[in-house]
Point group: D2
Chain length 352, copies 4
């Protein structure tokens, strides 16, 4: 049994973890913290949890939260919170997993570049910890995660793009110049805070692109693809929002090198992911949509080439709140504490 | 361990059962049947199940299906199917649970009246079995279900209305004449078969009432309420469809007898359901919506009186595919086979 | 040609009026005011208007707005604004039409009761004007509107309920005690301001009731029905929100007096509304849904009785932003200035 | 005054034309035909039209339809119908405008290739007419349309892609090899016929790509771009469906030639379209979404370059049922009969 404290429990990322842990046989929540509604049971804020999880919401600075037993602390918080909390939690002998960009980069300079894109303070509060932080994309960094104290969970768009492109750039199946990531997301990816753009009457029957001049997830995509390729990779990234709650579909394009065709791509992807429980590889003739992964920790890759035009085309489907967030986090916790990687995650979502 | 065969596996009701059983520790699916895609794995038809449930779809008439070991057969099929299948399954020593109206009534005459409303053949094919059939609303018929061979699972609208009105009619908290059931449902209640009315462009941003001249669920509502009241009860029923997938909200109205007020109603409902794991009773000041029960086997009742006008008002919320269908079915199976009533069902849905 | 100044131009009610006036041959917008984005063209705030309406947003207190020529000022503003603006506009020789509750009541006492329900200041700022204010439901108050200086446009739920019930209470087709208004609305009725409850991920696939302890529209419904009935009428009102943008469906119930049946109700409604261009009366066998009125100034009434149970049942469908708001307002302006009542309004919406 | 007969009146494309013509001062509908519900008023099939358009549905083969006066016949029909009807209509001295692919190509060979992609009969029934057919994209073929007898209205995806790419390929702002059209559509683009994939419960909260091995609109996109470029252009086309009713957003990518940057692209597009009433050009810093064009005949182009990666990126937004279908058709009719190009089309849609 492994015990977990959760900071940022009342956001969608926190709820996702609570939902999974309620069914997980070995990971147990011991304390929740948030910044609002302190003292109330979480089921008061989210009535759907009533009778299933009624833990009180604590102040993360309170002695109660500090003293709650835990082997690991999870911060499902916006950028800037985990970097302040991590040193204390690590010093208390706990591991630390953070959902934000706080520990996705290994140097203060890269973090500063990331933070600037978000309009956040570029000075990292725990720069000494950055070198040991591990990027928590299980399929690519399983071994480092297993021994990590400190894990930075990946961004949701990044999960879809990296899983969809890494085998290709690593094996020379796509030219590294001119890659396009055309990425559509449901709205839960923007979190629970209301905004004009996500007000129901403004958002239904409406889609659009945003942050065309630079989305924060580009950096981790390019870093991971460059690592896989062994050379510098840059991508054009077009984040888009569609009127759905859950789901990311990323269409990934690039130029086919001479001699590469659809069959070689399918074969390479199937081989790369043959031991990965959560990756499904399909070819262009098999139908696929985000409902195939909704509510599950799956990433479904439709892998193809448009040989007529000489283009590489992979379509990556995930549930942004599961494989894109809480599911990946639990997968990482399983790895960090020696449980089977799919424990508590080996289930489909509910349809329809 | 109890083994289950499922007929009608590829409809929404069948999927709901498969999803629950995948996580249930004691109930195990051994065979699936449907009328289309025979021979293919169910995950071919529903790719979201790939790797989670890949059982082949069998012909219900095939020897393979007949010989599959099972303690109980579940028919998640339209009216008319279960009444043909039940005798053989019972003769083979299995229990039988049916989702349709085939076994909700205890006489051929009542069934004929029901079938006529649906435009179905009014001649029941197993009239001898009707007397022993038990109406599978666990909260009202727990003891009979425990010893039943043959259970007729209730209709989704009926679940919401009966749970919302039974304590009141039983305890004289509402006049039995003039009860109104104003019932709104998401579209999954209509099943997976496409129709003009549920084509996405016709259904989004659109709500309407239907079958104003007589919905088939009225009969079981009136039968159960009459049983609870000890006198004949008739209701005005207005079925409506709203642009959602999952959820039923039934607003239930009637006249307040002299001396009854909101507080007495709340107290009575809390007392009636105090041992029912899946019923939540709230008063009119507590916010409630169908998202509080989405994906769970809960029924949430907002219980109140409008004392200014002398009206009784209860609002009943369920997920039509869980408490309104597969969840109730598994709850019944738990009771029929001696497991804790909430086994495999004691979880919230996923939000948002 | 009649000229119009519009205060509160950037809300949904203001947009609705702009859209209609862009196609109206005789009513012309001369100036817009709002409290934000002053100085910018309205098409900067609402890009869909670019090239169609690019009038600058003015400060309602500015000399430019005061001096803009206008025969009438329309306040599409929250409660509390029109009552401050009206005296000046009337003094300048203009008529005044207000969307809020500010001029729906003819005494400070009634206004105070209304304002208290909304948690607003109960002291009306122009109590002297209340006696002359006319309730702007064209079908019931056509003659008074024609000669009015000051019109209070009705609430959206109220339009649906009053049009659906007035003929019945006036003609003794329903008992005046025990009337139920079960009212479902799309979300645009709540305006453009974002809130947690109307954040897309919280609102999609979710419905619920609210303000069960007293909605502000009940007062005007009861006042108008009492006027029609010639006796005091009270109603039980259940406001509900469903995941749509546009549309109200109100199911209206009551007890049938002896001797009244469905046919007499249909006949009475058809006769009552025979000269009303915007009212459609159908019987219970004719399908109806809010998409039949979406985008139009229609009110569609499905008129029936459930003779088996002795209940009266009318279902009223409107577009909350048209007949429930801007359409009714333009209909009133047409009447106030002597144009054909349907001028600029005689069109269906766009489907689907 | 110009008179119009409409074949295929009850589909979404027919409804779109009826809606526009109801407000058009010079184009008048004289007769409607469809294959079902013959003899009934169209408002029986589509009740939202009741009182606005109650023309009877005729059989296109009936004498009544043949004799109805008309200057032009519009076929809002699936592929294969217009090619049979056109000769008779032209022989009767009428012009002919067809919505399908029947007259988008000028040779039987090209038509056969197109029809094969759709699984339709590749033998064109009026091959002699193909040479004179004009492709009805007003902005590119205004002069030919003005003198045409026979116009093939463009496909909805094609409108978005061609308007978004033609200026670039014509002016050397993008390399002609390696162009990607990543195209998302609302569901109304698939027409009114129900299907499993567009059944509300299957389609809400779900997006996916389809026909990855060859969509029929690719051909007209490549033909028009090749004409504009003066060389052969091929594109990779990824059609996708998102849970909306109306709207197309096409993200168009390619490589930037040396010396081209964002500013030069914006300038070229603004100059190209400076006299086109329905084209809006914005840069990457200006927010844009499909709601900006919903219900209007606009095409909104967000024009940019990702100079960091050397990629050209244009995002094209239209309403698939207006600029993508009926709006373009009316724009063509205006041109064909000498009316101002924006007559009857110069209005925004309704928001929200």
């Amino acid at each position: 049994m492994t015990t977990i404290k959760l900071i940022g429990a009342t956001g969608y990322g926190g709820l996702g973890m609570i939902e999974i842990l309620l069914r997980h046989p070995e990971l147990e929540l011991t304390a929740l913290a948030a910044t609002q509604d302190i003292g109330k049971p979480i089921s008061h804020v989210w009535p759907y949890l009533e009778g299933f999880c009624d833990l009180p919401i604590l102040d993360a600075d309170s002695p109660e939260f500090a003293c709650a037993p835990a082997d690991v602390t999870v911060a499902s918080t916006p950028d800037g919170v985990g970097q302040v909390r991590a040193p204390g939690e690590l010093a208390a002998g706990r591991k630390f997993l953070d959902y934000s960009g706080d520990f996705r980069f290994n140097s203060p300079e890269l973090y500063a570049e990331y933070a600037n894109r978000l309009g956040k303070d570029p000075d990292h509060k725990s720069p000494d910890l950055l070198p040991e932080a591990v990027y928590g994309l299980s399929e690519l960094h399983r071994d480092e995660i297993a021994s990590a104290r400190l894990v930075g969970n990946p961004g949701c768009f990044a999960v879809s793009c990296i899983l969809g492109l890494a085998p290709a750039v690593k094996n020379g199946l796509v030219e590294t110049a001119g890659i396009v990531c055309d990425c559509k997301s449901g709205i839960s990816g923007a979190g629970k805070k209301p905004s004009v753009g996500h007000h129901y009457p403004e958002r239904y029957d409406n889609m659009g692109a945003y942050r065309l001049t630079g989305h924060q997830h580009v950096m981790e995509i390019e870093r991971e693809l460059s690592l896989a390729a062994g050379e510098d990779v840059r991508v054009t990234f077009t984040p888009q929002v569609v009127p759905m709650s859950r789901g990311i579909m990323s269409c990934l394009y690039g130029r086919l090198p001479a001699g590469v065709n659809g069959a070689t791509i399918v074969e390479c992807y199937r081989d790369t992911y043959k031991n990965d429980r959560f990756i499904l590889v399909k070819d262009a003739k098999q139908p696929a949509s985000t409902s195939d992964v909704r509510g599950s920790n799956r990433c479904l890759l439709t892998v193809a080439a448009d040989e007529r035009t000489g283009l590489f085309r992979v379509i990556s489907h995930i549930d942004n709140l599961v494989k894109g967030q809480a599911g990946s986090a639990v997968q990482n916790l399983n790895i960090m504490f020696g449980y089977p990687e799919d424990m508590g995650l080996d289930y489909p979502g509910a349809h329809p």
